[in-house]
């Protein structure tokens, strides 16, 4: 679409010696187009190279590894066909970790979106100190996950943590927070700790909604709840949809349970409590402890396919539930017209 726009805007018509308007010399047009092409490729090039080196090549290499019994070190590894993939679907530990990951995703994605939206609505109100409150709520999201996890481990340590110290003040027995059955709740709280990210995106969406719509609704007698459900939510649905998709992908790939485990090092993978032993923990276990590079690569490829499938399902389910203020197709047509193409 921009091609047409720039083509029209680019060169003023060249006058012929006779004074009659002439078409642009083909050589100059080609030169301009070539320059534009070079500019495009110069900007896109680093990304394409990065994609090839850091995404396409590792993906291909991992795919090849997934058909071997490689331990990453020995020269004796051999081709095992689909054996690793067959094991993925028959290994009870893999299936259990996959199920736990599904439950974790189903719990945390709605929770973070609802909590983030709630906070966004709250800090979108005209209250005193709004800027400060927004900053304070967003601050935890700025802390790197490793830092947040270390803090959580210190807070929830059974023998020296602040959480049990607090219980101690009330003469209540301390709990082993980082072990089962409490560990999963600590993980969920840690996930919610970073809800500021969701809040800030929802806030941006809220501020994009024209105030006139709410004013008109109020004039028509709509209650605040009606205004929220009939105006805010539909207009915010593309933002929510974006958060659902990215939230699901992030949750399926999370390895945060290792960071809050009792021994957050590669050798401590085994110490991750069973309830927090999500799919990526199982993958790390196979890679780093088991030395099973072939099988772990198969696990990652299966996860990759699951993520694609889940994303497609979410897109399918979202039809009719997500409202765009500007139709994408319509926007394209409009832009073309404006560009004069």
């Amino acid at each position: 679409m921009s091609t047409g726009h720039l083509t029209v805007a680019a060169g003023p018509a060249v006058q012929s010696p006779a004074g009659a308007p002439a078409t642009r010399p083909p050589r100059r047009r080609r030169s301009l187009a070539t320059r534009r092409a070079w500019a495009f490729y110069a900007f896109a090039g680093p990304w394409v190279l990065g994609f090839l080196a850091l995404t396409a090549y590792p993906l291909g290499y991992a795919l090849w590894l997934s058909f071997t019994n490689s331990d990453g070190l020995s020269d004796n590894s051999r081709f095992v066909g689909l054996d690793n993939y067959k094991e993925v679907f028959s290994d009870p530990e893999t299936l259990a970790s996959l199920a736990r990951t599904g439950v974790f995703t189903a719990m945390t994605v709605p929770l973070t979106i609802v909590a983030g939206l709630f906070l966004a609505v709250l800090v979108n109100q005209p209250i005193r100190g709004r800027g400060l409150i927004r900053t304070l709520l967003y601050l935890p999201a700025v802390v790197p996950p490793v830092g947040a996890a270390i803090t959580f481990r210190m807070i929830f340590d059974r023998d020296s943590g602040a959480a049990n110290g607090l219980l101690d003040l009330f003469n209540v027995n301390g709990l082993a927070w980082l072990a089962d059955p409490y560990a999963r709740w600590v993980l969920i709280v840690l996930t919610l700790w970073g809800v500021g990210n969701v809040m800030i995106i929802s806030l941006a969406g809220l501020q994009d909604i024209p105030k006139e719509l709410h004013e008109a609704a109020r004039v028509d007698g709509a209650s605040p709840w009606q205004s929220f459900t009939r105006i805010t939510l539909p207009l915010l649905s593309p933002v929510i949809f974006f958060q659902v998709v990215t939230g699901i992908i992030a949750s399926l790939q999370t390895f945060v349970p290792l960071l809050i485990s009792l021994d957050p090092t590669p050798k401590g993978i085994g110490s991750v409590p069973e309830s927090n032993s999500l799919f990526m923990i199982h993958v790390l276990d196979q890679y780093l402890l088991g030395g099973r590079y072939g099988y772990a690569s198969a696990l990652l490829w299966v996860l990759f396919l699951i993520i694609i499938a889940v994303t497609l399902i979410v897109f399918k389910l979202s039809k009719g539930a997500v409202f765009y203020s500007v139709e994408p197709e319509r926007a394209k047509t409009k832009s073309r017209t404006i560009g004069g193409g």
Binding site: A37, L262, D263, G270, E274, G291
Partner: protein, 448 residues
């Protein structure tokens, strides 16, 4: 958007060029990593960069560079990174590792340099001067302790020897352990129970820690002291169902259940024993003589610290070493001569003498034993106990088919649930056998 046909670049060509550039880069990377593995003689003073993967506190980089006339590049130890570098055939020149557990694993994968020719020529590191612990760095393809020498220990400990704090014993009105006779594990557990201090479900002072070097090593040593072995003779399986291993496992379950010290259920939040011991929150720690180096840094703790012999589960008194931490040279190192120069300086030069005098473990050269510190009362006591313990030193063989951390990982997965549900030791043994043997079998399958 279409690019004119006369343009010199189209999408397809662009992608082709990108792929070619990437391929060229990858190929040049491969070319750079090709080496005949001989080490050559390219270690010119000041121009060679020696890459060392070790803990920062293990090496004074500036002193190393100055003494050796080499540029030293330091890498933080990271098993995943090491594996990646080894797989890419661009490993560090010198790598920190455990002779007891890493040597068979890497040697079986043909990743280590045979150092026998270097030892044969060396005037600094003579084979006759090597402490027997260095045999843990030997592997002949089927067992540890024989065959080519692949590395050397920087120092070592008989790791089940107990450091204890006399002030915590006195506070609990408990008699101090003997300096000559080993405790039985039953007595040790009883002492731990008497020394632990709790409040409202929390342990304020640990009575004992036997898991400082991992639960698997502890079980290995306990089983050996009961007269058995966890590993089968060919090292291709474990058996926790044997009477000796089962006895060790029962004790470990009892220790974990008693909650008197760090365990797989409640690991030490400090990461290792020293900060806890220093803070007066651990009465006994099975860390061996090496721990004395840390104790030396705090005179107040040194005053109340004493060493006791390794406890025994049976009648065959042994005192094993689970570490023999030292260095090895990867087979694909580009600077083997420089790496050996580093070996001679680090293991036979000033750093070795400093470590020996500082109490950081028993020196790995017999000639340096006389430098072990005896100035302070705790040092003298520790030296005397250690002197008696040498007679019971026993190297334990480790499997080449799985890494120790993986076997520790299985214990961490199985034990917490078993303790919580009160599963019998026999069933726990069966589960450990099943999971560990599956892991070992897969490792064996790769090695062929």
């Amino acid at each position: 958007m279409s690019v004119p046909a006369t343009g010199s670049l189209d999408r397809r060509r662009f992608l082709t060029y990108s792929g070619a550039a990437l391929g060229a880069a990858a190929l040049s990377g491969c070319a750079a990593s090709v080496d005949d593995g001989s080490g050559g003689t390219g270690s010119k003073s000041g121009s060679t960069t020696l890459t060392v993967m070790c803990q920062k506190e293990d090496l004074d980089i500036k002193a190393a560079g100055k003494a050796l006339g080499l540029k030293i590049r330091y890498l933080q130890p990271d098993p995943a990174k090491l594996n990646a570098l080894l797989a890419a055939k661009t490993p560090p020149d010198v790598v920190l590792g455990s002779g007891a557990t890493d040597a068979p694993y890497f040697a079986a994968r043909n990743l280590m340099t045979d150092l026998d020719p270097y030892f044969a020529k060396s005037t600094v590191l003579k084979r006759s001067d090597l402490d027997p612990v260095n045999d843990l760095w030997r592997y002949d393809g089927s067992k540890q302790g024989a065959g080519p020498r692949y590395g050397m220990a920087k120092d070592y400990s008989q790791d089940q020897m107990i450091w204890y704090r006399t002030d915590l014993f006195e506070a609990a009105k408990v008699d101090l352990p003997s300096e000559t006779e080993p405790l039985s594990y039953e007595e040790l557990l009883d002492l731990g129970k008497r020394l632990v201090k709790r409040r409202l479900g929390k342990v304020k002072v640990y009575g004992l820690n036997v898991t400082g070097l991992g639960s698997f090593s502890s079980l290995l040593g306990m089983t050996a002291s009961a007269g058995g072995s966890v590993f089968a003779e060919d090292l291709s399986s474990v058996d926790f169902s044997s009477p000796e291993a089962l006895k060790a496992l029962k004790w470990m379950l009892e220790y974990t259940k008693a909650d008197i010290g760090p365990s797989t259920v409640n690991p030490n939040p400090d990461g290792w024993d020293w900060p806890t011991f220093q803070a007066g929150r651990m009465a006994m720690a099975t860390d061996g003589y090496w721990f004395g180096g840390a104790i030396a840094g705090d005179p107040k703790v040194a005053e109340v610290s004493r060493l006791a012999p390794a406890p025994q589960l049976g009648s065959s008194r042994i005192s094993p070493c689970f570490g023999a931490t030292g260095f090895w040279i990867p087979k694909e190192s580009k600077n083997k001569d420089a790496a050996w120069k580093f070996f001679e300086w680090f293991f036979g030069g000033e750093p070795a003498q400093g470590r020996a005098a500082g109490g950081w473990g028993v020196p790995s050269l017999k000639s340096l034993r006389e430098k072990m510190p005896q100035d302070k009362p705790y040092q003298k006591q520790a030296f005397e106990v250690q002197e008696q313990e040498f007679a019971y030193f026993k190297p334990l063989t480790f499997t080449p088919y799985a890494q120790k951390d993986a076997l520790d990982g299985v214990i961490s997965k199985v034990l917490p649930g078993a303790v919580k549900s009160g599963t019998s030791a026999g069933k726990v043994a069966d589960e450990l056998n099943k999971q560990m043997n599956a892991l070992i079998a897969k490792g064996k399958d790769v090695l062929g």
